[in-house]
């Protein structure tokens, strides 16, 4: 859509929304949120940007195909699920760093898993929407 008002707004909303998304991702273990909703927020940010600025602009912004995030996210989740196997614990067993980390709280494999979820969701949503928009 050719509207500078939306375009301008989206330019400012994009970082804010992305910030939100990270926020929602990280605190999911303590409050409502988590990788899934966080990922959706991030993708919504980019989708909004695409609506306002056109898909090609958003694509140059991201620089790589969002689909690439899917295997990356899955691999991250996979590794966090596999890590316990090194300690002869079952798949997906939570490993926790003994001390609390500022901001995030307890650092554990679950967080990496959630980040994996986050990345996959972004990858998926953007792949779907960009593909549709591409082939309209």
């Amino acid at each position: 859509m050719r509207t500078i008002i939306l375009k301008t707004a989206s330019a400012y909303l994009l970082p804010v929304l992305l910030l939100f998304s990270v926020f929602i991702l990280l605190r999911g273990h303590y409050l409502p949120g988590g990788g899934f909703v966080g990922g959706l927020m991030a993708s919504i940010a980019f989708v909004l940007h695409a609506f306002a600025n056109g898909l090609s602009n958003t694509k140059t912004l991201i620089r790589f195909h969002p689909g690439f995030l899917m295997p990356v996210g899955l691999a991250l989740a996979f590794l966090s699920g596999m890590a316990p196997l090194m300690f002869d614990l079952p798949f997906m067993t939570g490993l926790w760093y003994p001390e609390a980390i500022p901001v995030i709280g307890s650092l554990g494999s679950a967080l990496f898993f959630d980040i994996g979820v986050y990345l996959v969701v972004i990858g998926v949503t953007l792949t779907i929407i960009f593909t549709i928009a591409d082939t309209i």
Binding site: Y30, L31, P32, F36, V124, I128, I132
Partner: protein, 117 residues
Amino acid sequence: MEIVLAIMIGILYAAGIYMILRRSLVKLILGIIILGNGANLLIFLLGRITKGSPPIIPGDLKVFEAAYADPIPQALILTAIVISFGLQSFAIILIKRAYKVVKTDDLDEMNAIDQDS
């Protein structure tokens, strides 16, 4: 309230089914979405409902002190919602592609393959 919700869920199921039985592919998918929502709410209701106490351990506590809503149905529904989203988005694209190839969204005109026997 449970009774009201039970009736509502029944209606959601009915509406979903009714939509699936229509001729339009778009309606079909809307029906599937409605049905999915009905199923999610069903899980929710059958896991028993609790007002105003989300399953989040409050403040500095380490375990719950007061009543809390059953978190399991919530987790299940979350999973189900996300999965449905995956399926739905695929289905929606299917409409698009089907329309392009078959040139219709009328399901009654998509029966060539069953009948060439």
